[in-house]
Amino acid sequence: MKYGPIGAAVLTLLLLGSSAYPQQQKKPKSTLSSGIDSAAAGVAGGGKVSPLADDGEFLRRVMLDLVGYPPSLEQVKSFIADTNVDKRAEKIDQLLDSEDWADRTARLFCEGWFGDYHKVPIMLSPKLDGGAEQRIANDFVAWMKLKLSKDAPYNREIVDQIIRARGTGTGDPALLWKLACFSGGDDGPAIEFANRVSRHFLGIRLRCAQCHDHPFAPWKEGHFYKLAAFFGRTQAKGGADVEVTETGTMEALKAYGGTFQPQFIYGQKPGKTDPWMDMLAMCVTTSDNLASATANRVWSWLFGRGLVHPVDDFNDMNKPLGGGLLGVLAKEFRTSKFSIKSLYRGICNSDTYQRSSMNDATMARPNFSAGWIKHLDAEQLMNSIAVATGQQPRRDPSGAMGLVAPLFPADVVWCEVTPLPGNMRQALFVRNNNMIHGQISGGLGKIQGATTAEKVAEMFLAVVSRKPTEAEVARFVKYIDGHKGQGLEDAYWALMNTTEFLSRH
């Protein structure tokens, strides 16, 4: 392994640091974490790399990513003061075991699949009752959350159940995904099903092959329609509850010019007596695609961009960034029996994830030499404001959406994507909004300190989760002391409007 000048300096510091606590030995990194680091080092190409983020920056980053809100003043203080050498690994475990992680991650999956999952259009005949529609959506999210919190194998217990979902809404909480195929679009549910299976689980845009052979992948039109054919017999009827059965005829697909029989993209066909959906579930959950596509999706949530980007567009002309990096993720994801928590744990414990966002060498393109900076999603933005002003973060988007939606130009969702980052409307909101202005006093109320310098230090911990540098203390003390009466509030406001506060770095 090669170290650039900074890497070498960090190494030296780490060695010196550990000698101060000879009784404590840091636990070794997992295969996944070290695999990520050696693959990422190849991308950085042996150039300069940034040191690891300090405790405050790390804690803020990992909390925003895993639970959707930053640490409170008390949490930052106690984390920084903690001398346990394994405190980062333990914090990651603690977050992954929290209800808030399962909750946010369930919502990330659901928004990735449905957009705003509160409003999934389900067009059935007879029409599904409004109450039932709401219940089916809520049940699905709750079911995802439960599976994730129990760390259920993603392939066997989540994707498998989604593809094999059938029966009534009250009987099967996984039905929403399949019902979303009945979107009332021009093409009908079977076509929509093939499109969604391929994008959500296989990471490919097989739909291109609906009209023509895929230009950069081996997919032909037949692949698409034969995948759609698995859904050919599926029917759903609405009313007070929904019922999904597989007793229909293949009538719907005849419009597409053929009597397609179900066949998976890699050739597997159901036998005469095999239930089609069971067969398809088996093909999908054992395919290499599922592991790579899922690992890539999780990576994109943590780094702001998939190694393959867009996350559902694996093709020959869109090779993953980072050489073997995705391969390492996928392999370890399989080894862990498709444990989403292990995937998160491995990524978050890697140096690659924990690097400081500071980079003195110009990064011509993202290469993992420094921590990646991304825009805050709606959940992170609103919760950062809440926590910085001494309030509790919220997980449930309802209620906040009225405030959030106008900040974005089109249909905004709460956590999965931030449609238009950094627009003028968002800047005005944080800068001038009266409600936020009124809440600053709530944050200020928690700031203690005998001197202005001490107060500045606390303020930095409360708002940007780190200690200020000497130059920053000087800058803020000068301002506060020069503006009696309003200085503290102004300083707090200024920190809450920094690029640092408004990005996840």
């Binding site: 002309m317 990064m363 003028m424 800047a427 909004n433 803020f476």
Partner: protein, 434 residues
């Protein structure tokens, strides 16, 4: 290979690898950019377009009528015919050209308006047709595709404009999120015209705001300069724009009470008309794209009676807007287009309604449009379609009048998207261009 399901990558290199091939303007020199910054090729600062200076169109106002109004009760009446409904035809300022009696204001200004009476629509589902008209794609396979407004705003927006470049009122715009062009060119939605840009005043007053902004700038300069990556530059730019909006006198464009009484008197008093008046004032300060919307036109039932109630509001707004723009000379450089997703059937159904139809009528005025004419002819019963024009032709007409090269392109998720995507292929309608 014609297909609407996907967009084939123009070339297979990952977009962030190819960004360096694209010019980024001044910011690019200052800091490296990520894939989000894949700006259009042949970059240029707004305002410096290839358009010959002078009388080229510099503002486009799109009046969108979601639901698709009937052409027969508006621009193409068929009085006395079996399916003509009950709307009579009235004379207009142009001899021999008649429109529906529900549009008396528009009739007065017909000299400036061109009707496209043989619009031909391929998409007959609301959403696909609306997307086609607004983003030039019947279906958007991913987010980030630009609205027509973003392209016009980017190409024609004056440098000294301190308001948003693309403003929409009454509209919930569709996925034209315009990611590649950056936040400043995305459609800015006005939710409430009495508070058009919420939070645009500092809660602590100008002087104190200026003081604390200095502290903020110093702090940002220090922290940001050590992080040459990611969204840092976009957040900084958003703050610059926010400060412009807070201080600009241009924001008074939203204050209609400041308008001359003679102009105000040309508009109706309802919400739509007042939005049209705001649009007039926004055009006056140089906002390059303004989207207006008023809905409720999907009259499968009772179209014959419903239109009588609903058309006058649109007539007052649209007619007033064309009249006001003409009166102040702005119509020369301001184009107004009005239309819905498609036409409605010339036959009346059992419920006195009209259903979706592939033929219909749109109207254009100003910005180089030759007014006082109808191009295309739907025949005596409204069932034929002579001199067909398409949504794509209208896109090309607008681009041509604005001096925008429709072949230019921008990058979204690794795909190169031409300004006029293949769904809106067509040609400028020379017959209505002055």
């Amino acid at each position: 290979m014609a297909c609407n399901k996907c967009i084939v990558p123009a070339y297979g290199r990952r977009d962030f690898l190819s960004f360096s091939m694209l010019g980024m303007g001044a910011l690019a020199a200052a800091r490296p950019l990520t894939a989000q910054d894949t700006r259009p090729e042949q970059p240029k600062t707004p305002g410096q377009t290839t358009a010959p200076k002078g009388k080229k169109c510099s503002t486009v106002i799109r009046i969108w009528l979601p639901g698709a109004p009937s052409q027969i009760e508006t621009f193409d009446p068929k009085p006395g015919r079996p399916n003509g409904g009950k709307a009579k035809a009235i004379d207009t300022a142009v001899k021999g050209l008649q429109i529906s009696e529900y549009m008396p204001v528009t009739a007065k200004h017909m000299k400036n308006i061109a009707l496209l009476r043989s619009m031909s629509f391929k998409e007959l589902a609301h959403e696909r047709a609306a997307l086609l008209a607004q983003i030039g794609m019947a279906q958007s396979p991913f987010s980030g595709v630009a609205d027509m407004g973003t392209i016009v705003a980017y190409e024609r927006g004056p440098k000294d404009l301190q308001l948003p470049y693309s403003i929409s009122m009454g509209a919930t715009l569709h996925p034209g999120q315009s990611l590649p062009f950056g936040g400043e060119y995305a459609p800015y939605r006005v939710l409430n015209t009495s508070d058009p840009i919420p939070d645009s005043r500092s809660p602590v007053g100008k002087d104190r705001d200026a003081e604390r902004t200095t502290l903020l700038s110093e702090q940002n300069k220090d922290w940001d300069s050590k992080r040459l990556q990611g969204p840092i530059g976009q957040i900084e730019k958003a703050y610059v724009k926010a400060q412009e909006v807070m201080t600009t006198p241009q924001v008074s464009a939203f204050n209609t009470s400041q308008e001359d009484a003679s102009i105000r008197g040309m508009f109706g008093s309802d919400g739509f008309s007042q939005n049209c008046l705001v649009a007039y004032r926004l055009a006056k300060v140089g906002v390059p794209f303004i989207a207006l919307q008023t809905g409720g036109w999907d009259m499968h039932d009772n179209c014959v009676g419903g239109m009588e109630k609903q058309v006058p509001s649109v007539d007052a707004g649209f007619g007033g807007l064309v009249g006001a723009l003409a009166a102040s000379g702005l119509l020369e450089t301001t184009l107004v287009m009005i239309g819905g997703e498609f036409g409605r059937t010339p036959t009346v159904n059992g419920g006195q309604g009209r259903d979706h139809h592939e033929y219909g009528c749109w109207a254009l005025a100003g910005g180089g449009i030759r007014g006082g004419m109808a191009f295309g002819d739907s025949g005596v019963n409204g069932t034929s379609n002579k001199d067909q024009t398409t949504v794509g032709d209208v896109w090309h007409t607008i681009f041509s009048l604005c001096g925008i090269d429709a072949k230019k392109s921008y990058m979204v998720e690794g795909r190169r998207i031409p300004y006029a995507y293949k769904d809106v292929k067509g040609a400028p309608i020379r017959a209505i261009m002055g």
